[in-house]
């Protein structure tokens, strides 16, 4: 009799009755996307994918990595040179972190340009900014772990920058370093932050981010009458998920290619003597690095201005954005200040990054 459920169907029914899987799945997939699915909406899903891959490769790296000043470098070299495919997993993790930053920029730009941070989505934007901070924190703390010269000097300068925060700066810098200068205590602290604290914070806040997003619903395009939007509306599954999957595949292929073409190569082991090495941060911090070379950011106050006040004010402005910009207009072509602001910020970052790269020649 064909109407009799088979064993598999019985198991599924058993689980479903207790978990409510079918309703849950329906709820997850049947989310109307006003105006229909778009390639512009892929970045959030891609970020989730890149993060999961960072978690997977990160856990695998911990099978061999030892977070101690006398073994961190050796164990990382062992992963690269001795462990089968260790070079690949490490290089994937390395390039994955860059992909994370690129995708964060793309995601934030999309939300900004589409005016999707506006009421009722202010909380999603705020939690998103916190997630942005966490991603930057991942990049900064992870950079120290291989314990080579690049790692040591990026951390030395980065923590000195934090030290410039008024009042709490000295305490914060010592707290992070676990002393006056980078050493074993710094490595232990950065390791705990990188593998425990930030992942927990990211998972919690990303959950909240998605929950709030589902609560408010997708913002949809910034143009079109309700009738037009309704006519084009589809569900999250299958068209948007299809686009997301294609994007994930493309990002995965890109990260793999980069890992193959430019695998991670360590410099000399970390030491307070830089030798011939010219310290430089990872590319996404280069603009800030170049900014601090400017004459206007010289001296004690100039440094506070360039390293703390301006980045801090910029983040505060982003946080205040949905509360300052209360006009319901979402069309970016009718928000000249926002459009020009975005272009100026992107151009500044680009110009400073490029000039930092050009400056390398001057040093050699």
């Amino acid at each position: 009799m064909s109407s009799q459920p088979n064993v598999l169907e019985k198991v599924i029914a058993f689980v479903d009755e207790r978990v409510g899987l079918k309703t849950l799945q329906a709820k997850m997939l049947n989310e109307p996307v006003p105006g229909g699915s778009r390639w512009a909406y892929i970045f959030g899903s891609v970020l989730l994918f890149v993060f999961i891959m960072q978690a997977v490769t990160g856990i695998l790296l911990m099978f061999y990595y030892v977070p101690s000043a006398d073994h961190a470098y050796a164990s990382t070299q062992y992963i690269i040179h001795e462990v089968d495919y260790g070079w690949f997993l490490l290089s994937y993790h390395f390039w994955g972190s860059s992909a994370m930053v690129v995708m964060v920029f793309a995601h934030m730009s999309q939300v900004f340009l589409w005016g999707a941070y506006k009421s009722p989505r202010e909380m999603i934007w705020l939690v998103g900014l916190a997630l942005f901070g966490i991603v930057m924190g991942f990049g900064f703390t992870g950079y120290l772990l291989p314990w080579d010269q690049r790692a040591y000097w990026a951390t030395t300068v980065g923590v000195e920058i934090m030290d410039k925060t008024p009042i709490v700066g000295d305490f914060m810098a010592r707290f992070l370093k676990g002393g006056a200068t980078p050493g074993q205590m710094t490595l232990s602290r950065f390791f705990v932050i990188h593998v425990m604290i930030l992942p927990a914070a990211l998972m919690g806040l990303a959950g909240l981010h998605i929950f709030l997003f589902r609560k408010a619903g997708p913002a949809g395009p910034f143009r079109g009458t309700p009738e037009e939007l309704k006519a084009k509306t589809d569900y999250f599954f299958p068209r948007q998920i299809w686009k997301d999957m294609v994007a994930m595949g493309a990002v995965f292929a890109t990260i793999c290619s980069l890992a193959f073409i430019e695998p991670v190569v360590l410099l000399e082991e970390a030491t307070p003597d830089p030798g011939e090495y010219h310290p430089e941060p990872e590319w996404y911090f280069l603009f800030l690095f170049q900014l601090l070379r400017l004459k206007i950011f010289s001296g004690e106050f100039g440094q506070f201005l360039g390293a703390i006040a301006i980045p801090g004010a910029f983040m505060a402005l982003l946080a205040a954005l949905p509360f300052i910009d209360r006009s319901p207009e979402r069309n970016i072509f009718k928000r000249p200040v926002a459009l020009i602001g975005w272009i100026v910020v992107m151009a500044t970052i680009l110009i400073f990054t490029v000039s930092a790269i050009i400056n390398r020649e001057f040093l050699d």
Partner: protein, 314 residues
């Protein structure tokens, strides 16, 4: 107008035709867009009637403008074109729906009927939470702060011999090893470096400005005095801008040799004075003593980078 309720009787202009079997909601406006009418009067099939046809909604009765004979013009419901609100996620949809008539209630358990007691228990929960967290705050903070502040080490370290220096006012790097014992770690030799200069009288004057230089420990006791007439000057290898290691470089543009930090491009004269770039203060001079044989010893000190004032941290 109230939302038409499920199970309400439906009356056409001329007669009663059946009841509301379902309602259809617009996913964007969250408003009821159609009622689905079923019953004998509609001839078996459920008909989908737009709410614009509803004249009035009374208790348990919905009045349509249409004549019963005209009901057939409305399309029959195609159930497969719809999903229930439980199978879809539309934000705040349920907040807008009032299609059930009356309230659906669940009895409050007898023990829960005393509202002030609930508030009391809530406060007690917070109090216990605070009692758990508060005594932990200080120990946890102290636990994490353990390595943050350590006493200064004022030992003299051999770094090399001045016979390496041939020319005046040229920065020569001296590398040395410092024994470091950090917490539980075995003692290790850490590579460090300082820059030594055999200073001409002009440069020496610029470094000392006519005064001997005193170095003190944490308690303010005098540790060492650099005499202004000793021609050897030693600079900490750490750039006072943001702590990188600087180099001695010939800069064709300036036509002379200077100290250059590759990080943020601070440039210092041989005397350590800032020539250009973002550094807030000159290079840090360290205590130096040179014996008769030319052997150089220094006290390894580090100062906080990025401040105008010199604050010792190591």
């Amino acid at each position: 107008m109230h939302q038409p309720k499920l199970k309400s009787k439906v009356r056409c202009a001329d007669r009663e035709v059946g009841e509301i079997t379902r309602v259809i909601v617009d996913p964007l406006s969250h408003e009821v867009s159609h009622i689905v009418v079923g019953g004998n009067g509609v001839g078996g099939a459920e008909r989908q009637v737009p709410v614009s046809e509803v004249q009035s909604v009374a208790d348990g009765l919905v009045q349509l403008r249409t004549a019963s004979s005209a009901l057939a013009q409305f399309p029959p419901l195609k159930r497969e074109d719809y999903v229930t609100i439980h199978e879809v996620e539309i934000a705040h949809l349920e907040d807008h729906l009032h299609v059930e008539s009356g309230e659906v209630l669940v009895p409050l358990p007898t023990l829960e009927r005393n509202v002030p007691r609930r508030t009391f228990f809530m406060n007690l929960t917070h109090a216990i939470g605070t009692l758990v967290a508060l005594p932990l705050a200080f120990p946890v903070l102290k636990y994490l702060m353990k390595p943050m502040y350590s006493p200064f080490d004022n030992a003299w370290l051999k770094v090399g011999n001045v016979n390496r220096i041939k020319t005046e006012d040229v920065g020569i790097q001296f590398k040395y090893k410092k024994k470091v014992k950090e917490a539980f770690m075995p003692e290790t030799d850490v590579d460090k470096n300082v820059w030594l200069l055999k200073a001409s009288p002009d440069v020496l004057e610029e470094v000392y400005k006519g005064k001997d230089m005193e170095f003190r420990d944490q308690a303010g006791r005098l540790v060492w005095t650099n005499k202004k007439d000793v021609p050897y000057v030693v600079f900490s290898g750490k750039c006072p801008h943001l702590g990188c290691g600087y180099k001695w470089r010939k800069v064709p543009k300036l036509g002379k040799e200077i100290f250059l930090c590759p990080c943020h491009l601070s440039i210092y004269e041989p005397s350590g004075k800032v020539l250009d770039g973002p550094a807030p203060r000159p290079l840090d001079t360290l205590p130096i003593r040179v014996d008769a044989g030319g052997n150089v010893e220094i006290i390894d000190m580090e100062f906080k980078a990025g401040t105008k004032a010199q604050t010792r941290i190591v």
